[in-house]
């Protein structure tokens, strides 16, 4: 009983730390072999259902601008600049997929795929789609850590 209360407390402490400090900032991402990222960016698993909105919405990841996902037949106008994402959950490990989402240029050096969780190294970065210069004070990555983990959780369900 006593022991349980103590561990409960410890866990509560950890969970608190998770909310306050465990989110990995774009500059602090730790790469393995330069292509994979083992740790969740939020410190917790993502939500696959929320990931569907990220991959299909223009305002979020808009992955379907370039990729087809046959599991989402209701999402109109899927592009084909990149390979179909069918089966990606079987082709790559979770850590590799996280790396591809954070910055695909680690895995595919000259790829057309944008880096979704990087904030430096751009030429004339803009303020969204306004054609004006980005404000360095407010400039953020294309996806939040949460959106990225949700996308990743969804991709892991795309197995063959």
């Amino acid at each position: 009983m006593k022991l349980k209360a103590v561990t409960g407390l410890v866990f509560a402490g950890l969970a608190y730390a998770g909310i306050a400090g465990a989110e990995v900032a774009p500059g602090d991402v730790v790469w393995t072999d330069n292509v994979a990222i083992a740790e969740s960016l939020t410190g917790a698993p993502g939500n696959a259902a929320d990931g569907v909105a990220v991959v299909s919405s223009r305002a979020q990841g808009n992955c379907v601008a370039c990729h087809e996902i046959s599991a989402l037949p209701n999402v109109q106008f899927q592009g084909n600049i990149g390979p179909s994402l069918d089966g990606v959950g079987s082709r790559w490990s979770e850590a590799e997929l996280r790396g591809i989402l954070v910055d695909a240029k680690h895995m595919f050096p000259d790829t057309r795929m944008p880096a979704f969780y990087r904030t430096t190294g751009f030429i004339r970065p803009g303020d969204g789609f306004t054609a004006r210069a980005a404000n360095p004070e407010t400039f953020g990555p294309l996806l939040t850590a949460q959106q990225l983990e949700d996308t990743l959780a969804y991709l892991m369900t795309l197995t063959d």
């Binding site: 808009n62 087809e68 030429i123 970065p125 803009g126 303020d127 306004t130 054609a131 294309l142």
Partner: protein, 289 residues
């Protein structure tokens, strides 16, 4: 790629095969012929590539080939082509007196069907001082220096009407711009820009219009991004779009800080992109979705 394990390489190979199949279904209809007014004129929509200007293109294609049949047909009939309203407005402006000198374009240049034939085909080109100018610059220079009139806005209605009217006088002539001699530094600057990956999406013109020709980016079928059809009537905008306005939009779409219409950068880019279409017909005024 060196990081890929053999299994992954295989997966990617099949993904590439799938990509190829994708490219096939989205390919432009290369057999389509751009015939104007039931045979009055046939425009060249496919021209040979060369190793100097377009070493990475198998062939040069007009953007017209990539459009659906309904949009293509609008450009084939001057009564259906909505850009012809701008051409008519431009013809009116040609003879309209404006400014303190009390003159119209026609007072100096006479009949545009003669004096302006070929102007679009060679645009942009160096002015008498060796500076690269676009058609808009020549027009505004005449207005401010010769007519004593106000300059028009780069993409304003009057300017796009006038560029539409003047461009029509070169319809059917092959794009033929000077890229050597004093034009060479501008051309190099434009080429540099074409391969620069601007914006937070880090996409160059070449990433979309050279590496992805024929593929779909969401609902859009990517062409080679040629300007031989400009000015263009864009159905989406319900109006005429200038070359620099199109450039601005494409750079904006990479989540970048764009360049201004009429900037030195866009003049240089215009020369380079025009050269990538050498041999294609000037379309006069085109129709795009």
């Amino acid at each position: 790629m060196q990081h890929l394990k053999p299994v992954k390489t295989l997966a990617l190979a099949s993904a590439c095969a799938a990509l190829f199949a994708g490219a096939a279904f989205a390919d432009p209809d290369l057999s389509a012929e751009l015939v104007i007014n039931d045979g009055e004129l046939t425009l060249v929509t496919r021209a040979p590539s060369d190793d100097v200007i377009t070493p990475n293109l198998p062939e040069r294609y007009s953007g017209w080939l990539f459009r659906d049949a309904a949009t293509r047909e609008m450009e084939m009939d001057d009564f259906e082509n909505p850009a012809m309203l701008a051409v008519e407005a431009g013809a009116d402006l040609w003879t309209t007196v404006d400014g303190s000198a009390g003159q119209s374009c026609a007072d100096c240049h006479g009949d545009a069907t003669e004096s302006m034939a070929g102007v679009r085909a060679h645009m942009p080109h160096l002015n008498a001082n060796g500076v690269l100018w676009s058609m808009e610059d020549y027009i505004n220079n005449c207005r401010t220096e010769r007519m004593g009139a106000e300059a028009w806005r780069w993409s304003g209605d009057q300017m796009t009407s006038m560029t539409s009217y003047i461009s029509m006088q070169s319809r059917g002539m092959p794009v033929d711009v000077q890229i050597d001699g004093d034009a060479a530094p501008y051309w190099e600057q434009g080429r540099e820009m074409y391969y620069t990956r601007y914006g937070q999406l880090e996409l160059s013109c070449a990433n979309c219009h050279e590496d992805s020709t024929g593929l779909m980016i969401r609902a859009d079928h990517l062409s080679q991004g040629q300007i031989s059809g400009f000015p263009t009537y864009r159905l989406k905008n319900a109006g005429i779009v200038s070359i620099h306005n199109r450039f601005r939009g494409c750079i904006r779409d990479t989540r970048a800080e764009s360049f201004a219409e009429g900037s030195d950068e866009f003049r240089a880019l215009e020369l380079y992109v025009a050269s990538r279409g050498m041999g294609l017909s000037v379309e006069g005024v085109s129709v795009r979705p």
